[in-house]
Amino acid sequence: MASRVAFENSNDVGVFAQLTNAYSIIALGAAENFYSVFEAELADHIPVIKTSVAGTRLVGRMTVGNRNGLLLPNTTTDQELMHIRNSLPDEVVVQRIDERLSALGNCISCNDYVALIHPDIDKETEEIVADVLGVEVFRQSIAGNVLVGSYCKFTNQGGIVAPQTSVEDLDELSSLLQVPLVAGTVNRGSDVIGAGLVANDWVSFCGLDTTTTELSVIESVFKLRESNPAKIVNEMRASLIDSMI
């Protein structure tokens, strides 16, 4: 299910929210209808946490995470870190990392298995990403843009990349990530996909200006039409219980 929503007249939902299969983080200060749209879809299945990161509302661009873990920039305050740790389920590892490129959401794009990172990220950070998020890491650029987190968005089902990506690049990325990829836009022609929408395996939110065509592309590439949230979340629980036994 893809829904349209606006954060205080801004269409860039991906800037103010972070969404994964296990949790969701939203910025403070939005109108109630923003929260209600998110909570209506998500609250039954995963925790929805309201917080600031580094004192800003740009939670989507400063943090990166998947169902295994969450990475926070070094500018995150201790209270924020505490609050997030307490609100997230124990399975999710929360780590604050020291990285010069502190807008992690712009530099790293990941799903539950693979991550793409900015070519200039430190070796240490790359190792932490692989460790905490439990993913295989690739240094890549997308259509000549090094900000992989801004110009693409992919989940376990599929992904969208910036429209300037060539067909060869698209095929290469698709084979790296092992998910179907499509070049598209969001919010009526904006090529900054990562900032324009948030998505997980069963739901996606994009800006109010998104056209019907863009919305149908999002729904089909992320396979949101036949999605069953309960099944996806429970699959995770089942595998965890298995491992405890």
Partner: protein
Amino acid sequence: MPKRKQQAEEDSPSVDEEQQYKSDSSSSTSDSDAPLPDSEESSDDEAGEAFQQVDVDFGFYCPQEKDFLGMRTLMQNYLDGQEWACSDMVEAIIAQGDSAGVGSVIKCGEEEDPIGVSTVLNLARHADATPLRQLRDFLLAAAGSTHRRRLEQAWAAPATGLIINERLVNSPPELSEPLQTSLFGEVQEAAEDEELSKEERQCFDLQQFLMVVRAYTDPSQQPDKAAGGSGVGAGSSKQQQQQKRKKAQALAQAQAEGVVHFLPEAECYQAAADWSFCFPAADRVAGEGELQPCRVVMLISSAAAATARTQLATLLQAAQDE
């Protein structure tokens, strides 16, 4: 419709203005070293000697779908930070550009992003549209008691157009004259265009124009409060009406004092306007003693607009000749 579009596209190369931005800092430094030889250098060098000339190309193009995001950013703060349906407004501007060829976006050099947008919307035609209703409420709330009735009257009149004229603050002043000429020329053409339906043609047969612009007020030169407070009397005799008109003109001039425009066309229009008022801009603050940002709303008849445009031309010519 394709013919009109092609015409608009053909128009743009001829309207392409090669603007020369003359720097006046080099002439004003009195005790500088020998002036630099004529060069195309476009930045100050280490010694601090100012550049001579920069050649920049600006183009006026028909508003198109690909300009949507840029135009939306320009229009986002039209209501001084309030949330409003600016996407719908931009859609209306694009639709009008497509169907009637009225309106332009200003682009700089090879850049795809618009730095300015200019168009005229018929208020009666779009009266029910959400963005215009929101704009009307916003302006009425900001208008003082004297101007509220005038604004309502102007808004309700059948042949009033809203001029949208937004551009980046540092756009060169030389853009204003060709922009205004082309805008009013397009309106005129649309009013006479055989290819458009009769209602559309009538929409562009506009008698008066409403304009909302950003400007600054100089706190040290506030207009006389007494002159501004005089209401409109209910006199019916000819003499009283003449007096009322004189008073209204004096009022308009009083309102225009103390307002510092950065858009040269706005200055000329306000001087020729039937009435105008200004109110402080809610989303921008300036320190004490600095120019205070404000919004100016004015109503100008189409005849007065034409005179204002010739005045604008002379003003800019004089400035260029300096």
